[in-house]
């Protein structure tokens, strides 16, 4: 709660800057219109106009909020203009990709921790794999998979998976190696098998490392799903809304898609945060 006021201040400052920027960027078009209509604008009229243009360079926050309200609450969920419908399509790809990425990440991490050969050969390539700008080649992956007959959710989920497995691998390798020599020795004195050591010592002690990685993975997976939607012919999803908006200059639509993606990301990450709190508290790791 101590940081409540500062955060509020910063967010407030962002809104103020946003409004000023909207006025500054949109004023040219407002004056242009007035000139063609042969009327002169007073300062207040100019401000009012910049707040209510149809295709502004930078829409004001309340315009974006209005558009989001219009496309979520007032439209039927099944309508193709509903942001909830588009958001759901993106969300399902995100969640599938996140689940696959987490699974792959944990498997790889277990392999890396238990096999020296895998540690030495796979780990450097896992790191290298992330310097390949996968987002940039996402369109190609989508097109190629489409050509093979894999379409719909899976291609997007594969891109999400590629982005989200990396933080999980790194976090889990660190976490599975977190038990110190004393604890490992204790397990040995109890004559535990490898599997038991894994389930009763290594896995529990990796939990504090797993959840922060999951948060990063979730955010990355959403980005992957959105970029994956860009080349699919702009049919559905938040990414498709972005692309369609940019084709037709519908800036308000772009910003509303962008903000709803942000809200979605915030909700997903917060959900993992709640899960983290519950799990760690029940395991007695959180005071």
């Amino acid at each position: 709660m101590r940081s409540f006021a500062p955060v509020l201040t910063v967010v407030g400052a962002i809104f103020v800057i946003w409004y000023f920027a909207a006025v500054a960027l949109n004023s040219a078009w407002a004056y242009d219109k007035a000139k063609r209509a042969d009327v002169s604008l007073s300062f207040t009229e100019m401000i009012a106009d910049t707040m209510a243009q149809k295709k502004p360079l930078l829409p004001a926050p309340h315009q974006v909020a209005g558009e989001i309200y219009k496309t979520t609450v007032q439209k039927k969920i099944t309508s193709k203009r509903s942001l909830i419908w588009h958001g759901w399509i993106t969300l399902s790809a995100t969640l599938l990709g996140f689940a696959m990425g987490t699974g792959l990440g944990i498997l790889l991490a277990v392999g890396i921790v238990y096999s020296r050969a895998m540690d030495m050969s796979v780990m450097p390539w896992v790191i290298t794999s992330q310097t390949i700008p996968i987002l940039a080649v996402a369109p190609m992956i989508i097109v190629v998979l489409n050509a093979v007959g894999v379409s719909g959710l899976l291609p997007k989920a594969i891109i999400s998976m590629y982005l989200s497995f990396f933080p999980v691998v790194v976090g889990m390798v660190k976490g599975l190696r977190a038990p110190d020599a004393m604890q490992m020795d204790q397990m040995r004195t109890w004559n535990t098998s490898k599997a038991e050591t894994f389930w009763k010592l290594r896995l529990p002690s990796s939990m504090p490392y797993l959840f922060p990685s999951l948060k990063i993975a979730m955010a990355a997976s959403l980005v992957g799903a959105i970029v994956g939607e860009l080349p699919t012919g702009a049919v559905a999803g938040l990414g498709a809304r972005l692309l369609a908006g940019s084709y037709y200059g519908q800036t308000i639509q772009i910003w509303s898609a962008l903000i709803s993606a942000a809200i979605l990301a915030a909700i997903l990450v917060a959900l993992i945060g709640v899960l983290q709190n519950i799990t760690l508290r029940r395991m007695g790791m959180l005071r």
Partner: protein, 279 residues
Amino acid sequence: MIWIVGALIFWAAMWVLNVQLSNGPRTRITTLAVPFIFGVTLLVLWEGIVRGLQISPILLPPPSAIAVRFANSLPILWVDFVQTFVKGALSGYIIGCGAAFLTAIAVDRSPFLQRGLLPVGNFVAALPIVGMAPILVMWFGFDWQSKAAVVVVMVFFPMLVNTVEGLRAADHMQRDLMRTYGARYWQGLAKLRLPAAMPFIFNGLKICSTLALIGAIVAEFFGSPIKGMGFRISTEVGRLALDMVWAEITVAALAGSAFYGAVALIEKAVTFWHPSQRG
């Protein structure tokens, strides 16, 4: 069939070799050789499966075809590389990281602003900022300026968060010592807190190095002059010339790895005192 069996045998043999190598004593050569062998194995497996199953080159070209295409179109690849990496990504990276660094120093004196900026910055850093690309292309035109702008927006917040975090890394004892020396604010910053922040700053720089390339390439999908890696990828996908696309991916991967490696090398030289560097 021969191709597949051959590739699988090669894979098994290399795996055994790798297990042998990694169970032996750990020297400089083995730590380099093991991942190298693994990479070569992957390439051989890829080549063998593509040839063995006779996968159409329109879907997945074999590595040999990509290498040929790469060698034959070096001039085009170079032009694209300069347009996207040097002009777009690198300039945006420098501007973005520089701006974030200066902002972090500017808010450094106000704990109030810092407490507000950190959660907000963390939040924004997790957002799909790539989505800003169409807007920025609309604002700054089709040439590299808009790509640099996308990169600036993408790298700003991760860098800001890391720098602010780093400036708090020096502990109380050390700060008190500076105070007993009678050091002024700027002296304390230059002699103690900036050096202490370097591991965090380089962490940010490393994260941003991969983000920068992604931002520059993705921004080109929304409009670009007739050169650039993103432009080439999207048009060659349309022409189904996948070997060219893979050649561009190779360039991107090489550039990305080299960029990351360069930052890591500088980090090693600057933060030689940090436990993680002393090994």
